[in-house]
Amino acid sequence: MTKTNMRTNELRGNKLPALTWNWMDVNDVKIDLQNTQKIPYTAVQSVGTVDQKLKQTFYDLDHGISEEVMRMNTEQCNLANHWRISDSEPIEVRLPQSAENPLLVDQNQIVVPPLQNGTVLLYNYSEDDSRVERNSTILIDVENDAEVNVVLVQRLNKDSVSNVSIVARVGDGARLNLATVELGAGNTVFHYMVDMEGFGAESHIKTAYLGSGNDHLDLFYHVRHIGEECVSDIQVNGALMDHAVKKFRGTIDFVEGCSGSDGNEEEFTILLDDTVRSVAVPLLLAHEDDIVGNHAASAGQIDDEQLFYLMSRGLSRKESEGLIVESRMTPTFDQIPNEKLRLDLRNEVHSRIIRR
């Protein structure tokens, strides 16, 4: 744990939908948001007006990381975006943070009307070494037969705190593709909750992360199958080194009536150092018999055979390790609609593995 984690006023969030043994410390997670003032965020301007009614509907569905964090998000909000997607070019928003902008509390609403499709990229990063905080909520409403790609990239510095809550709703025949990349922030808390309400709704999630130093990552997913014949998958791939701690907690919830649904979750962790800690809690909750749910979690060192093959081709050990880790993240990176950023991220992963 980093020093910044030691605090007295304890705030907790990301509570599991079905609790288990308390001593394992996986039922919820500590939230490290220290700033309670409202400070303006000056790097970008808000887009559109937040639909309060829509906001309320979504808050009734789920409280994101926690009720308290949601309340802070409403009170301290310094950036509010509302997009109504209409077959447009990808929307790309850069959200830099620095000593000038130490706090970003953003509310985002992405509404995709019927039959439309689009892409939204939110890229949050540090410009300097100062400690910054982010508390973000993203509401995604995918209406009938629509499709949206939402891509989140987070590259804050090691002293920083990132809290992101996503609440989504997917209609009849609609599809939500979410890709998230977590490469920064010493303290990352991620929350994703989706209600697949429509007939044949789909939710596809790909996450790539790299934990190093004293990083603490909490990745929380809650996928609810409500409509008939919904399809979902969660794919989380990442690597841990130094003293990084990762908690993956994914739940696929088959609500009664979601007949014919199919849900999959897969978590794969590459362990690069002896001192890392990897925790996985892959839940399947089934209230319906006519469904198929699968989960697989695995963790281990880099496969010797792969390493041997690459090294026999003349690559150094570190170089080979870098390539292998990078390749596990490629499917997620491929979702990013910005080639330069994609390349940047690949390079960062590669060089962080090689430099270790």
Binding site: T20, L115, L271, R277, A280, A286, S298, G300
Partner: protein, 507 residues
């Protein structure tokens, strides 16, 4: 690569038309798929609650001593004095009672609020002395156990048997040649009396009273159970068995089982549990402590068929030393609420743990079962294989922990859990936790939930089987890995149970 679609440029009126068309198509599809699924459901035959047969036989409730209901220091002292216990044991009981009173019910898992300790009698002594001659056991009690097949099993198959009726052991016997080799198999009270040093050294060190509330309760009011000691190098070639039977309504059974298998020894221990059905709540909070020494092997099999009014809050834990092996076989069928997660603590290099379990939850049952493995030493191995089946609104929950500690290098662990749900009212949840604290680990976890794969049925049918045969074959295959690990008479019983419940039930 990039999956941003090009602009579609659909005109507004076209858009509305397309939407309407899509919606109409979907309605047709929805109907068709619903029909298809309903057809599938129709093919199922629903099996009513099965007759528990001999398990439900009630005996008149005759007892010599029944302590008043509830829990207090007086009651704990009374139990201790009835048993003529040494002072250290009483101290342990009182310390545990204190822990119990401080602790709360867990905030996770099944609801335990209906369980009221004030309504439960913690100690009941049946009108019987412990016998080692079967014919001298009181008629009623003997008849019950005979119906359950205990003495026949002893003649044919077992090297020793113990039978506990309510709070006390009523029969204990072991084949002579084992005693000559130094094997000890006795009820726990006699163990405390005859082997005080051993018991004092091991008692409460594996399973600690502060583990959880019902472990504390167990240590405060324990009564009965078994003590087994297998000396160095002795192989007990046929299984030992103990059978727990609860007859009195509104009672608790708190037996303590302590097994020590010394260096290079081996043992197979079988535990069976049953109780007749009453409308009051009964509680079972036993404690099982297993010590597997260097190179030793212990197989611990349990078939639990408590009646559906039982809260089964049992704790089991094994400490395995270098190259030792613990094998758990666990079948959970009965009880109203079960919380049972046998734990294996692998403390010596090369230690191994294998867990095989099956859970069958019917109407009104919440069976929260699973396994825990803690890898504390390098090159330790564990496998967990479980099957859960739920039907008629029953809840089968698989809950587990695999933890690999710092410095436990080269460990391998594999978990495979499958759940089968037979109707939409039931629940099948999977709640595993995996904690890895070093990088040299080979870990895999897989879970599956749901109905039988159509492709598997299709494949078998293409090989000439009828659909029904194909389904039956798949279901048998589902339970097979567990059934084959059970002792014969239990395997037969379990298969019957499963066949009855599963017949044609999967769509």
């Amino acid at each position: 690569m990039l999956n941003t679609k090009p602009k579609q440029n659909i005109k507004q009126q076209d858009r509305e038309r397309i939407l309407a068309e899509k919606a109409a198509e979907r309605e047709i599809l929805k109907e068709a798929r619903r029909k298809e699924r309903a057809e599938k459901l129709k093919e199922r035959t629903y099996v009513e609650e099965f007759d528990r047969g001999v398990y439900d036989i009630k005996n008149p409730n005759r007892y010599e001593i029944m302590l008043s209901k509830g829990l207090s220091e007086e009651i704990v002292r009374e139990i201790s004095s009835i048993k003529n216990e040494p002072d250290w044991m009483l101290k342990k009981r009182l310390a545990a009672l204190e822990i119990y009173q401080k602790m709360e019910n867990p905030n996770w898992g099944p609801d335990l609020s209906e369980l009221d300790m004030d309504e439960i009698a913690t100690y009941i002594r049946p009108k019987a002395q412990m016998e080692s001659n079967w014919q001298e056991v009181p008629d009623e009690i003997r008849k019950t156990f005979e119906l359950l097949g205990i003495p026949e099993a002893e003649l044919d198959y077992l090297s020793g048997v113990g039978a506990q009726y309510d709070s006390e052991v009523v029969y204990h016997n072991m084949k002579d040649y084992l005693a000559l080799q130094g094997v000890v198999y006795t009820d726990f009270e006699s163990g405390v009396e005859q082997y005080p040093e051993i018991i004092r050294e091991y008692f409460g060190t594996c399973l600690k009273p502060n583990l959880h509330r019902y472990s504390a309760l167990h240590y405060a009011v324990w009564s009965g159970g078994s003590f087994v000691y297998v000396p160095e190098g002795v192989q007990v070639d046929i299984p030992l068995q103990s059978y727990f039977r609860m007859n009195a309504p509104g009672a608790g059974q708190f037996e303590h089982t302590l097994i020590i298998v010394e260096k290079g020894g081996s043992l197979h221990f079988i535990e069976g549990c049953s109780a007749p059905r009453y409308n009051t709540i009964n509680l079972h909070a036993g404690g099982v402590e297993l010590f597997v020494k260097e190179g030793a092997k212990l197989r611990y099999s349990t078939i639990e068929n408590w009646s559906r009014n039982m809260y089964n809050l049992n704790s089991k834990r094994a400490i395995v030393e270098k190259n030792g092996v613990i094998e758990w076989i666990s079948g959970s069928f009965g009880s109203r609420v079960s919380m049972l997660y046998p734990a294996s603590i692998l403390i010596g290099e090369g230690a191994r743990s294998e867990f095989t379990g099956i859970t069958f939850a019917g109407a009104g049952q919440t069976l929260d079962t699973g396994a825990q493995v803690v890898h504390k030493a390098p090159h330790t191995y564990s496998t967990v294989e479980t099957k859960s089946i739920s039907k008629g609104g029953g809840k089968a929950i698989y809950r587990s922990l695999v933890q690999v500690e710092e410095g436990a290098y080269g460990c391998k662990s594999n978990t495979d859990c499958q759940s089968l749900m037979l109707d939409a009212q039931s629940r099948g949840d999977t709640i595993p936790t995996i904690i890895l604290k070093n990088d040299d680990v080979d870990f895999g976890h897989e879970a599956k939930i749901g109905r039988i794969d159509d492709q598997a049925i299709f494949y078998l049918m293409s090989r000439g089987l009828s659909e029904e045969e194909a389904k039956a074959m798949i279901v048998r295959g589902f339970a097979e890995p567990v059934a084959k690990e059970l002792p014969l008479e239990y395997a037969v019983e379990m298969n019957e149970l499963i066949n009855l419940e599963l017949k044609g039930a999967i769509g």
